[in-house]
Amino acid sequence: MYIYDEYDHSILRQRIAQFRGQTERFLAGELPPEQFLPLRLQNGLYVQRLAPMLRINVPYGMINSTQLRKLAHIARHYDKGYCHVSTRQNIQYNWPDLTEVPDILAELAEVGMHGTQSSGNCIRNTTSDQFAGVAPDEVIDPRPYCEIIRQWSSFHPEFAFLPRKFKIAVTGSTQDRAAVQVHDIGLEVVFNDKGEVGFKVFVGGGLGRTPVIGVAIREFLPEEHLLSYLEAILRVYNLFGRRDNKYKARIKILVRALTPEVFAQKVEDEWQHLKDGYNKLTQEEIQRAKGFFTAPAYETIDNAAAQAAVDAQAADSIAFGKWLQRNVREHKIPGYASVTLSLKPTGVAPGDITDAQLEVIANLADKFSFGEARTTHEQNIVLADVKKTELFALWQECKAAGFATPNIGTITDIICCPGGDFCSLANAKSIPIAEAIQRQFEDLDYVYDLGDIDLNISGCMNACGHHHVGHIGILGVDKSGKEFYQVQLGGSASNDASLGDVLGPSFGADDMPAVIQKIVDVYVANRTAEELFIDTYRRIGAAPFKEKVYAKAN
């Protein structure tokens, strides 16, 4: 993974010093709260319902064991012994003390981590595929380009006061696991017919109040023009995005208002001035970035023999077999596999992780996966490079540490925002709903029979829980001071991205497990042998689900 050099460290130190000074001026009453607000946000610091919340970037999800141990240390010494993996692959602390935040940031900086631009109206942490570099279906590893974007977007002087937040995601696989079509800019690394590397560029996707699927404004952008083209998009947005209404300030509203064709032309006109300037990437720089993401020291392994050994262990242990089936996936290198550690056991807020668990993951990463791990936007953690012959040993350690819940991709692997328990924006709680649904679906055999179902919960229309793109999406709403939940069906964040349809009137919290059960029952009654939930929904439409869920009791 990328390792900071003296330039990176020096820039980060300058930022830490800047924010320390700003915090001191604020605490001394010299910096008015309304001016401190965007400054602290751009350093990751929110003021929340109960305490500040500090969001730490995990650049495109890549993290090493040293950083994991530092996160554990921060959780233990400055917080209440745990933290939270967010739906944008970041880490959130829910209980830091404002006066200690500069110290926390200084400690994190020692290991090349920070909270800068993790919030506020600026370019946020670039996200990517948690299986980048190891997925069998990968065309090109997106991470070197993510790193190039990270450096360009960090402390960009022109784009720190945008109309609204700005999120970029990059994928390099045939199956999009980075949800690029629901980002302000989505990039798909591709080859053209001459075998040259470039990007398909989507703009104007996003969730929130006005969910939109992005549109492709360029089918092939040669890789050397990555930064100049991004700069052109950002400049058009900075100059012409709406600033009169924060709910209409995202780039998706500008793209829609201008039409994608006109927006693309404006970007093109701007880009013509920029494309051959100093921002044009050199092959040296691209190769330098790629040099940080070379293959680790894989051993040559007889895949058939390794697989046979694993199969034999699975035959002896049903539980291990289930874990293999749901939490382990194929790797591009023979004899290796990628493992997802589930942060979704029933009864724990989805994505929450303790200091001790962080240290366990650091140890597991060192022992089994070249010292690296990845955070996922589904709020789990991946060990990407595990030898198949060591899967059984890893599983036993995961079980002991509470990460072995074999539910990845199932209805209980719920994406969930912190909701009304923590967040001051939320209209309703989300964590207790997730738990109630997990309890409704405790029979693992039944859950497996249901297959892949993305169930996403947001506590308000800001959609941090990505409810619009859940196969089943749940949105917390407030009706005259009471919490209700609206259900949407048919969303997807994958290549066939779609936004869910609202099923009908919302439900009380207590009704939710039964409502989800009825929805699942309709799927089971109507599916063909090959169909996943989303396929059946797309075939039969919302009507049968509505009928069942809203049927009058008799």
Partner: protein, 167 residues
């Protein structure tokens, strides 16, 4: 007269800012002496004003640099306004004036920008800072000019991105 920060030092402000007026830009009376006038007034009265060398223009945040384009260098001073400090359009306008239209004179931030934006503004080509807040402490503000001394990106102050300079 209120002072300003220019080229890294506190200096006298010898220019008077003419605010936008209601009504037609053609009808605005442009006073004598060194004045910074709304760009719309300049465009409306260009014929009468073009022999004056003591006139600068200022852009509001919704006015784009191409309104004067390559004519930029006829002005000794150009202002870019911040109606609110959160309105970041003038960062782009400043860069465009410097990089696209080659403006060499004094590029002055005016309005409600804040001290904590000075470094990024400087990077975008702004070299003078006239706070509208009369209580702004210029000595303290000077300290923020160089919050960063190293940068990843190309900008006006450092046209080479770090990747072209990295040892």
């Amino acid at each position: 007269m209120q002072k300003l920060i220019k080229d890294g030092a506190i200096q006298e402000n010898t220019w008077t800012l003419v605010a936008k007026a209601d009504g037609e830009a053609i009808a605005v009376e442009v006073p004598a002496g060194q004045v910074l006038i709304p760009v719309a007034v300049w465009l409306a009265q260009k014929d009468q004003l073009q022999n004056r060398t003591d006139i600068g223009v200022w852009f509001d945040s919704d006015e784009t640099a191409d309104l004067i384009g390559a004519d930029a260098n006829r002005f000794p001073v150009i202002g870019v306004n911040f109606p609110l400090f959160m309105d970041g359009r003038s960062f782009s306008t400043a860069r465009l004036l410097r990089e696209r239209y080659g403006f060499k004179g004094e590029l002055r931030a005016v309005g409600n920008f804040i001290r904590d934006q000075l470094c990024y503004l400087r990077r975008c080509g702004v070299n003078a800072f006239a706070f509208s807040n009369p209580e702004a402490n210029l000595e303290d503000a000077l300290k923020s000019l160089n919050d960063f001394q190293e940068y990843y990106q190309a900008s006006v102050d450092q046209p080479l991105p770090l990747f072209r300079r990295r040892a």
